[in-house]
Symmetry: C2
Subunit: 432 residues, 2 copies
């Protein structure tokens, strides 16, 4: 008898038929002898409907009260799912964030979970019932309702699984984590397993499959995390601890992020505090910076390149031109026709020359590299946007990720898989 947390996203509870489908799936797991906790999101479109009501009143809503409004989406879902389970002859009880005591800090609209009180859930499970918990919402120490940010229901699911010592299954409209976006690369292949570290890198690169924070919590508490489709019976992808077999695979996934734009500033004087002044000025304007590259200075000056979200490009260019002038720096260049292609894999730790192999592959395609940044298990290159799809396909092939012809899953083109970072880039953007 397993203890399992099943998290269903907005499309999985998007209408009454789909809600009944979720109820049937939960009851099927119950019938197999599992103890089942459901975590559900708002019905698709509902959060946007609520935010539209808020923005119809003011552009700068009180954030505490906005959370009061948007948290209702998940509350409707838990009640409906519990009703659907009971209507099918099962037993269910819903919980809002304050009822399970999903304790968060008070950062409205992007609160962080501090603790979860699993006791009320255990009480319900002991009675043979299914617990249905509202995703996305929590309560701060003063009893105020908070929300966890877009994709926050993933984090709720993993946090509850951690508190219960359970497995967490994230049900979505794709059937797992892919080596790259199948819309860009038809050879993309569904992964059976991926390590937490790799998933973290991919999530921070804008993969829409999982919220970054949920992967962090899963890694911290070693929660076995499955990514599955709520519409098929595919086993999905297991996100789990790294093991030796994973190290044999040099690159597990390739991400493509098209949300970035480049800013370069020439001849920046090489003095202490210059970078702090430049990036401090951007921070003041709430502009998030991602990749930063600075070369070793020659003749007491250096060139500096960084990326910002496309929407912030004009603002960032203005700020840097102004501050650069004060610092005595040279020309400022901006370019929004760029993309960031990244290879990710824990195997890089034990294989030398991976970065060089990436650069060679890009070079062979005639792709010029505008900037490079690396981590222990990732290499990212900023390139011209026009080369991005060819670059992904070449790297996918070079690192042996192409699906075998017999693999049926390659024919599918699910939305929102690894590397498809449209709209989602902000979630993984570091604030520096």
């Amino acid at each position: 008898m397993a203890l399992v947390v099943q998290k269903y996203g907005g499309t999985s509870v998007g209408d009454l038929e789909r809600i009944k489908n979720v109820a049937r799936r939960a009851l099927a797991a119950r019938a197999r002898g599992d103890q089942v906790v459901l975590v559900v999101s708002a019905m698709s479109g509902e959060t946007n409907r609520l935010l539209k009501l808020v923005s119809g009143l003011t552009e700068r809503p009180n954030e505490r009260e906005q959370d009061v409004v948007v948290a209702t989406g998940e509350q409707v879902s838990i009640g409906l799912v519990a009703i659907a389970i009971e209507a099918l002859g099962g037993k269910a009880q819903s919980f809002m964030g304050h009822q399970v005591r999903i304790q968060t800090d008070s950062t409205y609209s992007k609160a962080r979970i501090l603790s979860v009180d699993a006791r009320p859930i255990f009480d319900v499970l002991k009675k043979g019932a299914i617990a249905v918990v509202a995703g996305f919402q929590g309560v701060d120490q003063h009893g105020n309702t908070t929300t966890l940010g877009r994709g926050g229901s993933d984090t709720t699911g993993v946090a509850i699984a951690a508190a219960l010592g359970a497995t967490c299954e994230i049900y979505t409209d794709v059937d797992g984590v892919y080596t790259t976006d199948p819309n860009v690369c038809p050879q993309a292949r569904k992964l059976d397993r991926i390590s937490y570290e790799e998933m973290l890198e991919l999530a921070s690169l804008g993969a829409k499959v999982l919220q970054l924070r949920s992967v962090e919590i899963a890694m911290k508490y070693k929660v076995p995390l499955w990514v599955k489709s709520s519409f098929t019976d595919d086993p999905g992808t297991l996100v789990t601890q790294e093991d030796t077999s994973m190290e044999d695979i040099v690159v597990s996934g390739i991400a493509l992020d098209r949300n970035d734009a480049r800013v370069s500033i020439r001849n920046v004087p090489d003095r202490p505090g210059v970078a702090a002044t430049l990036f401090g000025a951007l921070d003041e304007k709430a502009i998030s910076v991602d990749l930063i590259v600075q070369n070793t200075p020659t003749n007491g000056a250096t060139d500096l390149t960084f990326t910002v979200g496309k929407a912030d490009l004009v603002k960032a260019g203005d700020v840097i031109a102004k501050v650069g002038k004060q610092l005595g720096a040279g020309a400022v260049e901006t370019d929004s026709d760029v993309a960031k292609v990244s290879i990710v894999g824990v195997g890089m730790r034990n294989h030398s020359g991976v970065a060089a192999r990436m650069f060679r592959t890009l070079s062979a395609q005639g792709v010029n590299i505008l900037a490079i940044s690396t981590s222990e298990i990732r290499v990212s290159c900023l390139i011209a946007a026009k080369h991005s799809e060819a670059a992904v396909r070449a790297l996918h092939s070079e690192f042996g990720l192409d699906a075998k012809p017999s693999n049926a899953s390659k024919a599918k083109a699910p939305r929102g898989t690894v590397g498809s970072a449209h709209q989602a880039g902000k979630s993984g953007r570091a604030r520096k």
Copy 2:
């Protein structure tokens, strides 16, 4: 500096413009130096939308979970109203039922308020902010969300006013309590004052202005209760304690209830327990009975007449025919073309002959009385439906309620005033 609870119904917060209007009204009261607590309902149509989602899943939803779903309507409203107040430069904080600790019993969908913890509201008022409380919802002793039944926000408003020692203003789409339904009787006149007892009788007769339970609580805790329009500056009607000036007025209002149907059973044997058997059988089928009339028996048998909701008439007729046969009673008659016209007034206590005057008035109109029931401050007559409007107008004139020609309010025809009992009859129907 007054302490005032303003309750706004669904039409008063029906769209974003109206929500801004509520915010402006609250801030105007604040600017006059009042301490202001708002109690708001769900946006009009919202509760029905949520109930439709529930009924799309099953005809017999789990009641706990249904309350979880429908309570969200008010939660959206409080957040939006608080956001609107803050956007206008004011300070506001919203409260859900569990946050003010509106403690109720566990009767889901029609819970009764047991207590209110006014401290969190006082804390917010002390900071100069406006407290915005969700109507309709509460929390039981186990922390489950409950709802108070249709019109429950009135009860929330009055209960909070009682806990705070405040005045309660009920804002609605009519500008007060009328002597009778202006749609039936153009001479209907808005009342400046009415006693709790009279309002109770009128509410139990199906007047849609106030929920019965809210008047009970206002009477118990002597809460000064104003009925006002949220769209005009009319002072409205004050529901308050009876005083000597009220006793001079024999009849304060005339109610017309068209929801009832009549069942009569002839020659019922005059034995102990017969009435208990008949009405027990109706209760088993969850049929609510209103007026009951039994004459003094002659020859060991009597005729019995009672009224039920029109929707229950066929079912009630079947039950009574069956039970009547077992008891050896005579024929059963049913009639849905009836209406109940009632006169209400605390002055009746000190004026003799009021009932006789009512009967004479009806008789002069050629109206036959099918059944009569009275309380200390009310006389109700069941009559043929076709006579109902003429009866109301004749009684309105007879008891001196007609508006003076100079009174401008007579020209209005607001919906849902006293005596307009369409759709609302159930709320005031006694369960016997």
